[in-house]
Subunit: 400 residues, 2 copies
């Protein structure tokens, strides 16, 4: 399948990809879009008058997500046809805008946001830093994908400035201090967008993952380590994470990632039946983290111990229902080696081994003005896909 | 102020109370309602044609909550006038339905749900049971109101059946087992409904509480203690809580609780400035917990260490924004003595000292078919107010 859109063939946004977003048009109205090459196609306009128009008429993905997999496939097939067949070129070219010129917004209303902790390397690194001398992993870690609920209302679209949080922390002399966080970190993560809702009281099985999960997007789970370390015992992270979470503007449909499915790592002990996937369900996404333009890490998502279908099965095994727009993220993606760690906590050993930047400065944690970009690629039908990046710049807190 | 509604004067639902709910009319449409005596007044119909109608036209509280305190006061003043002045009787009597005959739904769309841990007696009881030999309270406990995010999508209205959750737990021999929870508990809590949204990056001060918080409702934070104990280290409660949380159908406006404001308990150490309320902000709600009709506890909300304004100030001090419909709960309300403990965990010492019921049976934790009712009263202008109760019955999990 090749596309008539100039420059798209062989790019990370070829016609086999077609990630979805939501744009704000110059007149203030919203439109669903897909990215093709360096362009955003106005899908709401392109489907107007067809029987598929109802899914995208609102300009955001909410209704489309809720419509379920048959609708996801119908729209994708239709768009693939439009962008592959030269006969549609004249009608659609006016609906293509350079992505650099479109304004992107959060593409759907986030319902509940859950964050997992699914990288063995990340969890072990954190355990070694925060609980030195003990087992790096807690006893439950290899039995279940540990997760917790985050704040859905402070999820912001890629590009939104992040205000440095303030809060309580414990100083070196054990006194309690208050002020702007001094250990502001990133967490490079992959998030999954739930489309179809489920019934309260009825778990979603591993094998039902493709019916419920629409797509994938990169996520930066900004974390204030000093606030987190003081608050998190016994009920988990709260204000150390809830000030902002950045989500990529483009959602890659699961249907574009068929070539990226890989075996999961070996699991020992064997998971309980509701989590036993027979070693399937891994996803080969290669992340990259840049700080002020400098590549500082390349976290491999294929190394995750727990897979996206396992996270979903665990999330619902107690009977919790899913809603359209539920978002769950993997937790920090870290590989076995330092060049694949997904947080500054790990990359700098809690600030004790700062990263040197080409401008001669060093970073243990983020400074005001720093910009972080997380990007990723994955195997696709026409070469590698490029996932929509998630970016954010830190700005100083206003004076209280 | 007296009302013309028969039987309402001197009841817990006198005209000085007027809690809000949302009903489903026989034709399927929704209506905002207030409770007066044993009746629900159809407020959407009663305000039709007035300039206040816009706030309640949708039939739920969402738009009204967002409108802010001046609107909350205008509508309340108007309804108080309608229900006090005999001249409105003939027009409004057809809009009064016996509460036993109306169908109540969740009165607003819950945005984010946060649960605190604000009772010193509860936290110390839990610490003694789960961490025997150590300090009952963690070192951070008296410095900040500990909280975490819960699952907004599984909040259900009072009266909804609760399916017993299943999950992983650690058996006495340290093996990991899977099955329906065997330690299903209640948590008697008080929840606060946020109306006005706030700006991301800007904290909400203690003194701004009345501008942001619309009202209060009882909440039962059902908890599977066996699932929780195994999963919660290090990231906090997840599946042990996320299967269902029951919320009362009637929201008591803060403006009805002026007579219930009391001093807070003495705090030592003195809180940091953003939490330093000078000892104000306590709320005198007297809860009652009934299991299958038997009174098993009377938790006093006035004994809470951290107050509702402090919880809100802490929740936002890092810059987290508020949305209309945010809900935050106090955590289990427990008094200093056994007759005021708000969970079976505390009342039965983790099942080891079961409660005897009049039918000759005993309860360490909940059995299928058990019904729990949490109610409360508070001082009001015309005697005590009765808060809308929150009820739920446990049903067996369907076979997987």
């Amino acid at each position: 399948m090749t596309t008539w859109v100039d420059g798209a063939a062989g790019s990370g946004f070829d016609v086999d990809h077609l990630p979805y977003g939501s744009t704000v048009r110059p007149d203030g109205s919203a439109a669903v879009a897909v990215r093709i090459g360096e362009y955003a196609l106005d899908v709401t306009a392109a489907l107007h008058g067809t029987e598929l128009a109802v899914h995208v008429a609102s300009g955001t993905l909410d209704r489309f997500l809720a419509a379920g997999r048959p609708a996801w496939r119908s729209v994708r097939d239709h768009l693939t046809g439009l962008l592959s067949d030269e006969q549609h070129r004249a009608r659609l070219e006016p609906l293509l805008k350079p992505v650099a010129e479109v304004r992107l917004q959060l593409p759907f209303a986030v319902a509940d946001y859950v964050d997992f902790y699914a990288s063995e390397f990340h969890a072990a690194n954190v355990g070694r830093i925060f609980r030195p001398g003990g087992d790096p992993l807690t006893p439950n870690w290899k039995h279940l994908p540990i997760g917790y609920h985050g704040r859905a209302g402070t999820i912001v679209v890629s590009g939104t400035e992040v205000v440095r949080p303030a809060g309580q922390a414990r100083a070196a002399d054990d006194s309690v201090v208050f002020g702007p966080s001094r250990r502001l970190d990133i967490e490079a993560e992959v998030a999954f967008v739930v489309g179809r809702p489920s019934t309260l009281g009825v778990p979603v099985a591993l094998t039902a993952f493709p019916d419920y999960v629409f797509g994938v997007a990169l996520l930066n789970d900004w974390s204030a380590r000093d606030i987190q370390a003081w608050e998190y015992v016994p009920l988990g992270p709260f204000l150390g994470k809830s000030f902002a979470t950045s989500l990529a503007a483009w959602i890659t449909p699961m249907d574009a990632l068929a070539h990226a499915i890989v075996p999961a790592p070996e699991r020992d002990p064997r998971p309980l039946p509701y989590l036993d996937d027979g070693g399937t369900g891994g996803l080969d996404l290669q992340l990259e983290v840049r700080l002020n333009g400098n590549l500082i890490s390349r976290p491999p998502f294929a190394a995750m111990y727990w897979t996206p279908p396992q996270m979903l099965a665990h999330l619902t095994v107690n009977g919790a229902g899913l809603r359209t727009g539920d978002l769950y993220a993997s937790g920090t993606v870290s590989g076995p080696d330092r060049d694949g760690f997904g947080s500054l906590l790990e990359l700098t050993r809690n600030g004790s081994e700062p990263i040197g930047l080409p401008d001669g400065t060093e970073r243990g944690y983020l400074e005001d003005g720093d910009e972080v970009v997380i990007s990723a690629t994955a195997p696709g039908a026409n070469g590698r896909l490029t996932l929509g990046e998630v970016t954010g710049r830190i700005v100083a807190r206003r004076a209280d």
